[in-house]
């Protein structure tokens, strides 16, 4: 995935601006390509689906479509922040045709960054996150914007092996 970015960098002569929707989980700022974002909604009634993976918060009714909602914090295994907001934000993303909602803490403005300022993910873990979910990082105003690779986050095989993955992640984190 990071390769893709490099290739694009090389191919575009001019410095290209890309627009990102920034959002926060805990203290970290993440970014997702604005083209993937279908809409952003404030809390909707979530119906719990029994026996589903732990990070699947449930399903919501988005104007007649039933959309699964994933708690990104749980999915990425980020430390659960102490403070919990009254209402969450749900980012509705179109990931390769699968419409999926992601619960995040806060959605910021649209962030414009130059493509060539995106660096490949560092080898060391960023914000306790495995680099496989990171597309790249980019510095903005003294903080680090983490570009997430949602297609990896929603990789079905991985989702299925959810529990193992969680265990693995735990192990990895502990060993590192």
């Amino acid at each position: 995935m990071t390769d893709n970015y490099r290739i694009r960098d090389n191919s575009s002569e001019k410095e290209q601006l890309i627009q990102m929707v920034g959002f926060k989980i805990g203290k970290e700022i993440f970014g997702v390509d604005i083209l993937m974002v279908q809409e952003i909604i404030r809390s909707a009634p979530i119906t719990y689906v029994p026996n589903s993976p732990e990070f699947v918060e449930g399903v919501i009714n988005l104007r007649g479509s039933i959309i699964p909602v994933i708690d990104l914090r749980k999915r990425l295994n980020l430390q659960t922040g102490d403070y919990k907001q009254e209402t969450d934000w749900i980012l509705i993303l179109d990931i390769g045709g699968r419409i999926t909602g992601f619960i995040v803490d806060w959605v910021t403005d649209v962030i414009k960054i130059q493509e060539n300022t995106i660096d490949p993910p560092p080898d060391i873990l960023v914000a306790g996150l495995q680099s496989q979910y990171i597309r790249g990082v980019c510095e903005i105003e003294d903080s680090l914007l983490i570009l997430l690779d949602f297609s990896r986050i929603l990789l079905v095989d991985e989702v299925k092996k959810l529990k193992n993955v969680t265990v693995d992640q735990e192990k990895t984190r502990m060993s590192s």
């Binding site: 719990y48 029994p50 026996n51 399903v59 009714n61 479509s65 699964p68």
Partner: protein, 978 residues
């Protein structure tokens, strides 16, 4: 070269034709002499062939062409549709199917067809030889028979008694005209499609009869004068009694043959026809040149090749136009050419006479071809030639037709002569008389030929032919005569108008064309197609009965699905409105309680009332819409039932069994998606029924049953479900064998088995890996079939039941919901969540007291009418906090079943029954859990739909795990509490 853009259409069209063909083929097996079936098959294969040639598929068209040849023999009764031949036809059908499959996947024709074509040709050749002999003798016999018969009639005609046959008042003329018209329609439909060799030329002349009539009347106005002046001369030349006898003879033969022909109708397209004619003209010139050169050149082989090529392309174009008789004519011609090519290599000599004859015939069929100058001298020459060959009884078929044609010209001349005489004697009544004479002549032949229409057409056709022949002589006529004749025609046209006030529409068209054409003969060409079109519509109308049946639009299934989704939304919205209505009445109540006066409340009440009215109306409309859209998705069961005769035929053959398939209720409609899903299980069941159920003919006879087994396939509606039954009168299910097998497999102990009812035992056949068959065959025995059937049916929220009487019958009963998209369901509440249980699975709902529940093997069970039913708490299964605390007394239990198993689900509350729209869940939510989807209920919240089948599996898995755990515990001696 394959045209890719057309390929898709070809694949779809061919698929339909093949299905039609297969059905007909299979019924042909039982009634081999059914001409209607043969025609259906022929039509199907012909459609495929035409399309294949159009798209440019060589193999498909070659194979279908060979098939057509064979079918032709069958249809003409020259060959019996033996089982062997039917088998070949089925094989060929399969091969075409393979080709179509190839095309769909790879856009190329991969499957080989040559072996089959060779097979077909073997049959064809044998038949061709026989046919030739048969035909010759037959033709000769007919010849002799009718000669005597008709000569008497002939003498009448010759004596000029014609007028006496018909009163000459106007009304009769008009009635004649309309009659003539309709009959020419008939003949046109008939003849255009196929003809026997003998009457090719006549029929084709009559084919153009109407056109010829107008031509005769208008465009060829010059000809009329020539006609009138020349007829005497012609008569002297041509009316020898022998000729007339032969002519009449042929006429009757023709009439007879035509009576027997029941032919598929066809339509034509003026544009295509134009292309066809221009191509014909071109090739005709080529052929003409070739033949001329053949006479002088030594390089005959090359020329013959050229001829063959030209003929091939003519044949293809004729075939494309679906002129079957022409195609045959060309085919025969090509064969002759190749024969003479062989002769050439052997003897170095070629007989060219047939070529000239054929060319002439072609020209007679299509008067548009005006290349060869045919003079009376030529006619005579050809005639004598033809007679000679008739004598030698060689090539009787072709010659007869040829003579026939020539002779009919003579007849025309004869008639015209009468007309001429009359004209000269009474110039004032010229036009009327001409018509009267004509019609009387026609009427005579009509009466004599027992009301077949062909002779009339023939006369008209022949009329044109003779006028054409006399065109050359026209050049001799003076300017003055020409003008006169134009006036003549105009008056003729007027007379015609006056004389036929009651004429039906097509003749009117004719009249107008007469009027205009008299002034500008060039328009004739443009008028003709109009006429043709008119005919085409008429023909279509006559066949509309059949067409209406097949009237359909091809729509992308996705579009229907999206429409269905929209309707689903509407249903949800409707539920929302109902909810709102309730809220309004609650609000009303609240306002009332909060002390609002009656006066203030009134507008609220009125509004609430009107609102509910509007909702009821909305509900009605949306219900109808929902039903309508669902109906769009519905297809008759015939869609899959039609595949089964073939399956039965194949399976019965491989198992050496005799099976008669009876299909009932094939018109029962079912959702398209379900139909597809049901096809496979049904196929398994039918295979089972034949493979296991129905005994071999010997065993059946021993058991006192007829040797042929009966397999009944029946579909019918039962409330919101469709029931499909597969019943065979075979040996039935052997309960004892099941018991033995179950014991062998250590599924249950002997005591348990003894306690089970027959019904329970029968259900074992649906267990994976359970088969009582002694050995594994290609079709059955692995014990997988029924398991798959059961799974597939349960996936559709359906159930399967097996009833069997040993030695009498086995009945499998599938019960499937009508549609997958919208189901009736029971809504239940557990904790704060609501769940949806498909009503198809719900047996009953009970209110159970806690005391009625006991615990067996760590599972709660209750006794329901003498049966033990395990009960599962949904709250526990789903780890939801339930409002139902243990020890709270009564609770609700929903008894659900999947046909084989029954369990009770404990819920907090029953909400009610509703029509719900099923929406899919994301795949990672779908797998490994017990929800088949979700639905949106009235208040906009989501309710998950329980997949009862999975749920039961899950619970039994849990039970099994528990069992194992217990066993392990007891083994290890650990008696810890779980």
């Amino acid at each position: 070269m394959i045209d890719l853009s057309l390929l898709e259409d070809f694949v779809m069209g061919a698929g339909e034709s093949l299905e039609e063909m297969e059905a007909a083929l299979l019924s042909l097996e039982s009634t081999p002499n059914d001409n209607e079936l043969l025609n259906t098959i022929f039509r199907a294969i012909h459609t495929i062939k035409g399309a294949a040639q159009f798209v440019g598929l060589e193999k498909a068209s070659a194979l279908s062409h060979a098939l057509e040849d064979l079918l032709d023999l069958l249809r003409e009764g020259k060959k019996q549709a033996t089982l062997e031949i039917i088998e070949i036809l089925i094989q060929a059908k399969d091969r075409i199917n393979l080709l179509v499959g190839d095309l769909e996947r790879t856009q190329t024709e991969e499957t080989e067809v040559d072996d089959l074509i060779a097979k077909l040709n073997v049959h064809l050749n044998i038949e061709a030889a026989e046919e030739n002999l048969d035909d010759k003798t037959q033709a000769i016999v007919e010849n002799n028979d009718e000669e005597t018969d008709i000569s008497s009639f002939l003498s009448n005609e010759e004596e000029g008694d014609l007028t006496s046959f018909l009163p000459d008042d106007d009304e009769d003329l008009s009635s004649f005209l309309s009659e003539e018209d309709s009959s020419s329609f008939l003949s046109e439909e008939d003849n255009s499609s196929f003809l026997l060799g003998e009457d090719t030329s006549e029929n084709n002349t009559s084919f153009l009869a109407e056109e010829n009539l107008s031509t005769f009347l208008t465009d060829e106005n010059e000809d009329i004068s020539a006609f009138l002046s020349e007829t005497n001369e012609n008569i002297e030349k041509d009316t020898s009694s022998l000729l007339i006898e032969t002519k009449i003879d042929n006429l009757s033969t023709l009439a007879n043959t035509n009576e027997e022909l029941i032919l598929p109708e066809e339509e034509y397209d003026q544009e295509l026809f134009g292309i066809f004619i221009s191509q014909l003209q071109e090739k005709f010139t080529v052929l003409n040149d070739c033949i001329a050169q053949l006479k002088i050149t030594h390089n005959k082989k090359e020329l013959l090749d050229k001829v063959t090529k030209a003929l091939e392309s003519l044949k293809f174009s004729a075939n494309y136009m679906t002129y079957e008789e022409l195609t045959h004519f060309y085919g025969g011609w090509i064969n002759k050419v190749s024969d003479s090519q062989e002769d050439l290599t052997i003897t170095g000599e070629v007989s060219l006479s047939f070529m000239e004859e054929n060319l002439l015939r072609l020209q007679n069929i299509f008067p548009q071809l005006k290349i060869i100058e045919t003079k009376d001298k030529d006619i005579e020459q050809n005639l004598s030639q033809a007679i000679n060959s008739l004598d030698t009884k060689d090539e009787t078929l072709g010659e007869l037709a040829f003579i026939n044609d020539l002779v009919s010209q003579n007849q025309t001349i004869n008639i015209s002569n009468d007309t001429k005489n009359n004209d000269t004697s009474n110039t004032k009544d010229n036009e009327d008389d001409l018509f009267n004479k004509l019609s009387s002549a026609l009427d005579v032949s009509m009466i004599e030929q027992s009301i077949t229409s062909e002779p009339i057409n023939e006369v008209f056709g022949a009329l044109l032919n003779s006028t054409e022949k006399q065109r050359k002589q026209l050049e001799a006529t003076t300017e003055k005569e020409l003008k006169e004749s134009i006036i003549e025609v105009k008056t003729l046209a007027e007379a015609n108008k006056e004389a036929s006030p009651k004429i039906v529409e097509p003749p009117k068209q004719q009249k107008t064309s007469i009027g205009t054409n008299a002034e500008s003969p060039i328009q004739k060409k443009t008028e003709q197609p109009v006429l043709d079109n008119k005919k085409a519509t008429k023909i279509t109308a006559s066949s509309s009965n059949e067409k209406v049946f097949k009237k359909s639009i091809r729509v992308d299934a996705d579009k229907i699905d999206s429409l269905m989704n929209q309707v689903g939304e509407l249903i949800v919205d409707r539920a929302y409105f109902f909810q709102l209505a309730t809220e309004i009445s609650e609000l009303q109540q609240y306002l009332k309680e909060s002390g609002l006066g009656q006066k203030d409340l009134k507008p609220v009440r009125t509004f609430a009332y009107r609102f509910s009215e509007a909702i009821i109306s909305l509900g009605r409309t949306s219900n109808e819409l929902q039903e309508g859209v669902m109906k769009v998705r519905m297809l008759p069961m015939a869609q899959i039932f039609n595949r089964f005769p073939r399956l039965v035929h194949d399976v019965a053959n491989t198992n050496n069994k005799k099976v008669n398939l009876e299909v009932r209720g094939e018109e029962t409609e079912l959702d398209k998606m379900i139909i597809e899903e049901v096809a496979d299980p049904l196929m398994h069941m039918i295979r089972n029924a034949i493979g296991h159920g129905i005994e071999s003919p010997e065993d059946r006879l021993k058991a006192g049953k007829p040797a042929t087994g009966n397999l009944v396939l029946e579909a019918y509606h039962e409330s919101n479900h469709i029931v499909i039954e597969v019943t065979d009168d075979g040996r039935g299910i052997d309960i004892e064998r099941i018991k033995t097998k179950a014991q062998q497999m250590e599924l249950f102990s002997k005591e348990e088995l003894e306690r089970m009812t027959d019904n329970d035992l029968t259900r074992f056949i649906m267990m994976p890996g359970f088969s009582t068959a002694k050995e594994i065959s290609s079709t059955s025995g692995r014990g997988v079939g029924m398991d798959v059937v059961k799974k597939n049916i349960e996936k559709l929220n359906g159930t399967i039941d097996v009833e069997s009487k040993k030695g009498v019958e086995t009945k499998m009963r599938l019960k499937i919901p009508l549609t997958l998209a919208i189901i009736s369901a029971l809504l239940v509440k557990v904790g704060i969540d609501s769940f949806t249980i498909p009503l198809a699975n719900v047996e009953e709902t009970l209110r159970v007291n806690e005391n009625d529940v006991s615990i067996m093997e760590e599972t709660e069970v209750m006794y329901l009418r003498g049966k033990t039913v395990p009960i599962f708490r949904l709250a526990t299964l789903f780890s939801i906090e339930s409002n139902n605390k243990i020890g709270s007394g009564d609770f609700f239990v929903v008894i659900v079943n999947t046909g084989t198993q029954t369990i009770g689900l404990m819920v907090d509350a029953l909400i009610g029954q509703e029509e719900v729209v099923i929406k899919p869940l994301a795949d990672y939510l779908h797998e490994q859990n017990c929800f088949s989807g979700a639905t949106i209920i009235g208040d906009g919240r989501i309710s998950l739909i329980l997949d009862i089948y999975e749920l039961i599996n899950m619970t039994t898995d849990k039970q099994i795990r528990k069992h194992r755990r217990q066993e392990q515990k007891s083994f290890s001696g650990l008696e810890n509490e779980d």
